[in-house]
Amino acid sequence: MKSEELKNQDYKYGFTTEIENFQAPKGLSEKTIRFISEIKKEPKWMLDWRLKAFHRLKVLKEPNWQKPKYPKINYQDLYYYSAPKSMKDKPKSLDEVDPKLIETYNKLGIPLNEQKKLSGVAVDAVFDSVSVATTFKGELDKKGIIFCPISEAIQKHPDLVKKYLGSVIPISDHYFATLNSAVFTDGSFVYIPPNTRCPMELSTYFRINASETGQFERTLIIADKGSYVSYLEGCTAPMRDENQLHAANVELVALDDAEIKYSTVQNWYPGDKDGVGGIYNFVTKRGACRGKNSKISWTQVETGSAITWKYPSCILQGDNSVGEFYSIAITNNHQKADTGTKMIHLGKNTKSKIISKGISAGQADNTYRGLVDIGAKAKNSRNYTQCDSLLMGNKCGAHTVPYIRNKNSSSTVEHEATTSKINEDQLFYCNQRGLNQEEAVSLIVNGFCKEVLQQLPMEFAVEAQKLVSISLEGSVG
């Protein structure tokens, strides 16, 4: 990409969509929760579940051990439910969806209509609090795969939801997870039946549009015995000078021999150059490898958000299960990230691998924080961790905080970390061959991230690569 082009590439998803919204009354209360539950026409058990979480929330305290500090959030000053008015009666097909919404998604590069025709990805789009459209339903139905908004799953597949919802992230886990359990509005639900390989990538696109709104989506993915699914998640938000809260929960369950690949390209609005506005991305993501030989792989490219604070984790319960975590976290200007993973080894012969690449520029702060815990019964387990940080300029910070626990004699844990700046020799070499400074940096950074980028599915890899360049724009020199 030419540097001219780079310069014009500010946050291009920062537009707002003028669309009439239907919102819940402001504030967090039992009334709000009942309102959300009612509007979703939820069964009583679901409402009870939410209320249980809400009562639990009252005794929980917001955690404060993280590195990036933020001003206190006034939870009573937020809208917990916001939906485009036209969605009040759910459209049956894409043709009934408000054209403005379709246009928004086209702008974002997610043409829902075209997607239907092109083979490849099935998309579930979530706009503010509700799921707007899901493509490719028919084809997935044939295989018995369920891919629908979670609100629909609560109605149509209550047994599955009851069994698995909250089984990986319990109601009382921690403040933001509990908050989500109480007020979550929508999200995706995926169920892959036994011995089925999902024929296409499943994808959800999240968009925050309304102001003063918190977004709380909940995703639940269940891969039954011997199945495979690859799931993609993307997110954007308009430019606003207020901070918006995004507290999602993602739960993955992999049974015997199943594999889940979860990829995220997170590009929420990061705030402007002076650190005004931006999303607080406080997300809880956790996967449980319940069955033998199961595998969960997290890949994340974190370029957006004012504050990113999340730890996609794997609980390796089943024997021989595998957990993987590949991450790129880029922070520029005043962005802050505190991210990493937890690998909890419980079963025998479990393996985990962590590759984390952190890049900080401007006045940003980037922290890798992770836990590798090998239990006494997790015989012959293995972990390999590598976290590298790249610093650009001396106003930013890069930090590594790994926690390593090994409780048995047959397991091996290896951890490596380095912090450095871009090698002058490499830059000089590139310059010599006619690349200007920014192109050279972009090239080197992409090389630095390669191990993670190549884990992404094709559709995302290209986008991610561009994002890496854009996020660092203006940070050189």
Binding site: W65, A376, S389, L391, M392, G393, N394, K395, C396, G397, A398, H399, T400, V401, P402, Y403, I404, R405, N406, K407, N408, S409, S410, S411, T412, V413, E414, H415, E416, A417, T418, T419, S420, K421
Partner: protein, 414 residues
């Protein structure tokens, strides 16, 4: 239930009224929090509160003792002596050095230690400290022989707590090797030490911590050091044998070209819990720090390493390295590590590594095919694993002495 504490401030020798008042305040501050537990991030892996309440009751600070033991000096190499009994200064002997170049006395004033409380144990120390030694090496003087601090503990220390503080100052261009040698009897007691070190321009301090035998001590030591231009601090921690030990080291590399080395080789057996916690603060450019921590863990022992490298934004050209390795020999043993980096300067070389695992089966197999018995093969590999630490001790006689004492410990492995 019996009370955990039974502390009497009047029993502290040489205290005046003003001091007693200060001590009272600090004791109250300590009693409010008690011994730190795992909710405290710094004590996450070593729940001292639990360990103390399991093993102690009615803890007192009675310092009456009789000491009539004959000193049995180490004969392996010439050295100067400082003798401490139950933490307080008894005598010193600098026979190998020039007169007036080294000064050592009982530490009287705790003034310099004010406002530095970082945890509840510091409050406790301030409340009960009986003063250890105050050691100073004068400008441009390079000590000819090392100093051994014979740290004797008497037999009647069951359920007692000893608090002392030491101060070490190396003036410009001076040099000293200091060996702390702990000689404990069988009684079960707690020791809480605060040590303040300042190393001036161009000075070099080498410090070695060692236990004579296995014992029932529960030791906490907090070392706080400041280093000036081109100074060097080398710390060898070889203190295997205590029931509980936590050594916390906070070093400030305040001026350019200063360097700090922390090396540790520890083997832990039944019921032992040992933690090394370091914070190396790179506050000026061109400084170097190097940490290498090795643990061998047997039975149900727990080894912990929490290391932090902090690099300030102006500390360009920093070279910092951190490595922790653990050999876990038993399924009940546990190794926890938290090697942390906090970096605000971009032109730095900082890296860390941490590994933990079992002994290499292939190496054992190799040795056994050469006719070496399993247990011998294991010991050989453990020795090799730990010996790497001593390679950095330059004086040959001291190195041989250290290797010998570690070899004795390893021979106890069954």
């Amino acid at each position: 239930m019996e009370k955990l504490f039974n502390i009497d401030l009047k029993k502290i020798p040489y205290s005046n009224d003003k001091e007693v008042e200060d001590r009272k305040k600090n004791l109250e501050l300590f009693l409010k929090g008690g011994f730190p537990n795992k909710k405290n991030e710094n004590w996450k892996f070593s729940d001292l509160s639990l360990i103390i309440s399991k093993n102690f009751k009615n803890i007192t600070n009675n310092y009456d003792y009789k000491f009539d033991k004959k000193i049995e000096p180490i004969n392996d190499f010439d050295h100067n002596k400082i003798i401490l009994v139950n933490g307080s200064f008894k005598s010193c002997d600098f026979q190998f050095e020039e007169r007036g170049k080294i000064k050592a006395e009982r530490l009287k004033s705790f003034k310099d230690f004010e406002n530095e409380s970082k945890n509840d144990l510091d409050y406790l120390n301030k409340a009960l400290s009986i003063g250890g030694f105050n050691l100073e090496v004068k400008q441009n003087y390079k000590c000819k022989k090392p100093i051994i601090i014979y740290n004797y503990f008497t037999t009647n220390l069951n359920n007692k707590i000893i608090n002392n503080s030491n101060k070490i100052k190396l003036s410009q261009n001076s040099e000293l090797t200091l060996i702390e040698y702990n000689i404990c009897e069988k009684s079960k007691f707690i020791k809480n030490t605060y040590e303040k070190i300042s190393i001036d321009k161009g000075a070099i301090l080498k410090s070695i911590i060692l236990q004579k035998t296995k014992n029932n001590g529960y030791f906490y030591k907090n070392i706080s050091g400041i280093q000036d231009y081109n100074s060097s601090y080398q710390n060898f921690i070889l203190s295997s044998g205590l029931k509980f030990s936590k050594i916390e080291i906070d070093i400030k590399l305040e001026k350019e070209k200063s360097s700090c080395y922390i090396l540790s080789g520890i083997n832990l057996s039944k019921d032992e819990h040992q933690e090394i916690k370091t914070q190396i603060n790179h506050l000026a450019p061109n400084c170097k720090s190097y940490q290498k921590i090795k643990n061998v863990l047997e039975n149900d022992s727990v080894g912990v390493y929490q290391g932090k490298i902090f690099v300030k934004d102006i500390a360009q050209k920093t070279d910092a390295y951190q490595l922790s390795k653990a050999l876990i020999l038993n399924d009940q043993a546990e190794f926890n590590a938290k090697p942390e980096l906090e970096i605000y300067a971009d032109d730095v070389k900082c890296s860390h590594g941490s590994t933990s695992g079992s002994i290499d089966e292939e190496a054992i197999h190799y040795l056994m095919t050469r006719g070496i018995k399993l247990i011998e093969a294991k010991k050989l590999l453990i020795k090799g694993f730990l010996n790497e630490i001593f390679d950095n001790v330059p004086e040959e006689k001291i190195r041989i002495f250290l290797e010998k004492s570690i070899a004795e410990q390893i021979d106890e492995i069954r």
